[in-house]
Symmetry: C2
Subunit: 207 residues, 2 copies
Amino acid sequence: MNTAVAVQSTPEIDFWFDFASNYSYLSVMRIESQAAMHHVRVRWQPFLLGPVLQSLGYDTSPFVAQKEKGEYVWKDMERQGRKYAVPWRKPSDFPRRALLPLRVATLGANEPWIGAFCREVMQLNFAQDREIDSPATVGEVLEHLGLPAQQIIADALTDANKLKLREQTERARAQRIFGAPTFFVGTEMFWGNDRLDDALAFAAGAP
Amino acid sequence: MNTAVAVQSTPEIDFWFDFASNYSYLSVMRIESQAAMHHVRVRWQPFLLGPVLQSLGYDTSPFVAQKEKGEYVWKDMERQGRKYAVPWRKPSDFPRRALLPLRVATLGANEPWIGAFCREVMQLNFAQDREIDSPATVGEVLEHLGLPAQQIIADALTDANKLKLREQTERARAQRIFGAPTFFVGTEMFWGNDRLDDALAFAAGAP
């Protein structure tokens, strides 16, 4: 008789996002508190949505390319912001360049400050209508979190870390990601902030 | 002093759908029971999604044109079917021709049988993988509902009713509809089965 006890591992969710993506904003603001309630661990997977969309034939965000859908999306974001109590101001520049904060998120993906960093960057973009790609802005966010801003930015700008973000974006393509946010629980893909709760329930083993 | 009492009118939701659309299927199956719970009246607005998508630059469904998204959508439909307890089988022909049932729905949009008719047609397409565009199939559905099938099909095929569906599709374009299902509460647009509950809550006057 086998008396071995099965080891219960913590369920995990992979969270693929880009700071330029407005629906990623809603998930960035919500995921840590929602995941905690499901006892699920979040694995932060920053990537560059632009090159992925380009490989699918889009020159820019579908919300810019498709005028009717674009108009609707800003209306939807207003309502979704109210629904989730997430502050919202339509950015005057969309999609915003976000290479530097994505590099910092790549560097810090497994650090305890990753969630707080992402929430602050996202709020600059989608609640305060501020640019998010300069060392000054990213440095301000890191300092606000009590982190060594200059050192982190320097580490984020090494060739090794730049390559890591490019490889991460290749992984997104290989996993057939076509938008953001995208969640994976194992190989099960869930697309869009609208599926965050379903994905967490799935991760937690709900029927 | 003005003693007039405000007349409370029944809140209404306009429900734009096409029998070829898989996410419309979920809403067709759910909307009457959900709307009843919110005390909202449903106004059925059948239209031809194909010409609307064509005017936006799509030759076919985005779920066919965009391979990655298409693969995902069938997976998502499986899960959504389970979530809403709606039977689901991936159609072997997608998007299916649905001109005749859409003409019947145009004719019967304000009839008491419209909801039941739409649910039966949708289940043939998305639960039983059957064609839905022949007089035999549409007649079978109408007879099953105890309706004068031959007369209704003849009325649906008059020039006046054909024109009505074309005009309805023009209205969809004019209202900047870009997909299905789409809901309107007054001028407020909600896109996708994922927004049905929000749209009904909005119609019912929820904050």
